[in-house]
Amino acid sequence: MPAILQTKNVHLSYGSKEALHGINLDFDDHSITALIGPSGCGKSTFLRCLNRMNDLIANTTITGSFQFHGQDLYAPTTNLVELRKQIGMVFQQPNPFPFSVYENVTYGLKLAGHHERKFLDEQVERALKQAAVWDEVKDNLNKSAMSFSGGQQQRICIARLLAVQPDIILLDEPTSALDPISSAQIEETLITLKKDYCIIIVTHNLQQASRIADRTAFMLNGNLVEYDLTSKMFTQPAKQDTSDYLNGKFG
């Protein structure tokens, strides 16, 4: 099965400072891939390349190839709006809009021009169920999303994303602002979502990576050190750096 997203020789510079020095990573559909590495190694930077959020930062230059379903992500003809609907992103800080839960989840659908009430209702229910937060919010769909707990907010954000039915979900440390119970709920959610989506998650929590990820990529100082099945990497890392990092010698 060919990878859904292939990246080759990715270099990225913020101004004159190069933050990524040639990354090659392929991502399979229906799987979870974890990006790990010490702070500042370029995990978020790389993740943002995948839905072109780095375009928003002035003075960045990106080279290399990004093939999504065999198409060039950075081709001049790429429709950014379409692309971001197919490759969605969940952020470190839960960031629901200060609107009702319903409006949050329908935001992307309305952007896409869907306004039929019945369709929206169905999609809201489906997305919230998929994000495993339906039972907690179903009686309060018109309440402000900000009034829920951090973990619920994060799952509302995941639902907001699922509503537009993306192919790939990017998550940048989605549980680092949450308590252990909420984190565990998000992890469960991700594992059930895996059968329908390609999930790429940045995490500082090595246990989390080992629990949920099929494959793990270890990055260091803007380089990809090792990329392998999680089970393999966590038991028999091929590189000394990887082994040192996993054993807590740095990072």
Binding site: N51, E82, G88, Q93, P98, C157
Partner: protein, 307 residues
């Protein structure tokens, strides 16, 4: 031993300073409170004298159209109808806020989201400068530029609500803009990223998320602008025409509450009806600023962005 006991029993230097500092600040607060209360008492008692001492009917005061407190009308009643001034004050306030708000929000968006770097570099000083220009200068420009232009275009004297609106528009624009900038900056950046990451364009993000999230504070900005317009006296006085007549359209000479006060307060004798009637106008102004204040508080409380 005795020495130590004495030292512990008597207040230290620091606690002594503490007491002195407290006395100073409490007396300052007391002075300010007394000042505020006496101002309120003075305006209220003077303003009510028209109704209590001179037995003018409140309803007739608020709805009457003839203003000539120095003389009696055919029925032997004093002519103190403030409606023309009330109408004009509200007209220039609302019109100038209506015209200024879209401009202010556009400029604010330019500074916060469209071109933050150059926008802030060039527009920020311009706005600060505009805030700092004394109102007599605005009035003077209004008198020498705006009024003649209106006169040439529409005829008449050129003075009136239109001229007042234009002058006030320029005066409230920087007020509303700088508060709108604060309102937009207070919207966390992660709302913007969330919207963009869902496939919204920058423009969709601005009007679907940003303006909506900032709405309560934007409204507050507009109300502050309106309060400024309502209370502005000098600049308006110079272009409004100062005839206490019901405005028939936007270009007939008329008068606002404030302009009537500044024009006539020096020409009346304390304690007489014409003087008391002016104080009643001041009372209306006071009550209105109270209303603006309450509105700002009410909206501010409802619109806090919780995170």
């Amino acid at each position: 031993m005795d020495d130590i006991q004495k030292k512990l029993a008597s207040p230290s230097k620091a606690s002594h300073e503490d007491i002195v500092g407290r006395i100073i600040s409490y007396s300052c607060i007391a002075a300010i409170i007394i000042l505020v209360i006496s101002i309120l008492y003075f305006i209220t008692s003077r303003g009510l004298a028209t109704f209590l001492t001179d037995h003018v009917n409140l309803w007739q005061f608020l709805t009457g159209k003839d203003w000539n407190p120095g003389s009696l009308n055919a029925q032997g009643k004093p002519q103190v109808g403030a409606l023309p001034m009330i109408v004009t004050s509200f007209s220039v306030t609302i019109l100038s806020a209506l015209v200024a708000t879209p401009f202010a929000i556009a400029v604010a968006l330019f500074m916060t989201d469209i071109a933050p770097k150059s926008g802030t570099k060039f527009l920020q000083p311009v706005i600060e400068l505009l805030v700092g220009i004394p109102s007599v200068v605005y009035g003077f420009i209004g008198l020498t530029v705006v009024v003649p232009v209106i006169r040439n275009l529409f005829g008449g004297t050129g003075a009136g609500i239109l001229a007042g609106t234009i002058v006030l528009f320029v005066m409230v624009l920087p007020t509303i803009t700088s508060l709108a900038v604060d309102a937009l900056r207070a919207v966390p950046a992660y709302f913007r990223s969330a919207s963009l990451a869902l496939g919204a364009t920058r423009f969709q993000t601005i009007y679907k998320v940003l303006l909506r999230a900032a709405m309560p504070r934007l409204l507050t900005a507009v109300i502050f602008g309106m309060a400024r317009a309502f209370g502005e006296a000098l600049a308006v006085q110079m272009v409004i025409g100062n005839a206490v007549l019901m405005p028939r359209n936007l270009i007939t000479p008329t008068s606002t509450l404030t302009s009537q006060l500044t024009t006539n307060i020096g020409n009346t004798i304390m304690g007489t009806l014409p003087n008391n009637a002016l104080w009643s106008l001041a009372l209306i102004l006071l009550l209105m600023s109270l209303v603006f204040n309450l509105l700002v508080r009410y909206i501010g409380k409802r619109g806090e962005i919780k995170s």
